[in-house]
Symmetry: C2
Subunit: 119 residues, 2 copies
DNA sequence: ATAACTGTATTATTGATATAATACAATAAT
DNA sequence: ATTATTGTATTATATCAATAATACAGTTAT
């Protein structure tokens, strides 16, 4: 699976975002066990400490729970997942609209531009 | 004028983005003299060195030109400004679409969400 | 002429991030 | 029972970003 880590922002933040995305869009299934910290770090080609930091953030959000000597598990709280997914979508839309608005692009132009993209 | 600098990304990058936005959307007029480095830094409540770094980036892009002992001036190349404005708008749209797509949101849902926003 | 203001450069210090190299205790696998 | 694997913690080092405090030479304003 693709781990596209750039160096324009803190690596651990990008890891949190990617992991969260995979949980919210179902790439990682509810209740499933994640790869180990070391294996995930290997996949993403980052230091295990950095991946550990990212996983810590995810646990704070309640998206994973760690069982000390067994592994990290995706939450089974699908309500939480759906809520966060909706929340994230809305905040993306809001941020995007604010940006193009500031650029002086109208709503109609914006929708035209989006229609040109392929989903 | 509002300088909303957060600490989630390098300050000088955010300054570049804000200054570029103001040039592209016409807040800063073509050919006009900018405030001095120190005054801009004061407005944005950042260190003058940081503002200076941002202005250096803008000069690389050709959006401003500095006259050593007089000040920094907005480019008069309106073609460049329009090009960059279009370019920026398109890349914003593309990045946004990629994000919502990854979240599993359809194009129709996306356009609905945008229609709810007020431009 | 003098003073104030310009962009620009330099040096030092601090904090955040990332990596590296280990270490440990508890569990799972053999 | 032994070994390997788990999350987790610690210490050290390097780099980047940001701020601070100056300094300088060349206009511009008075």
């Amino acid at each position: 699976m693709a781990w596209e880590i750039k160096n324009d922002r803190p690596v651990y933040i990008q890891l949190v975002e990617e992991l969260e995305l995979r949980i919210l869009n179902g790439t990682y299934t509810t209740g499933t066990k994640l790869l180990s910290v070391r294996d995930l770090a290997g996949e993403a080609q980052v230091n295990p400490n950095t991946m550990q930091k990212a996983l810590g953030e995810l646990e704070k959000k309640g998206l994973i729970s760690s069982r000390r000597t067994s592994g990290n598990y995706i939450t089974e709280d699908e309500g939480l997942i759906n809520d966060l997914r909706t929340e994230l979508a809305e905040s993306e839309v809001e941020a995007f609209c604010e940006k193009v608005k500031k650029l002086g692009i109208t709503k109609e132009e914006t929708i035209e531009l989006i229609n040109k993209e392929d989903f």
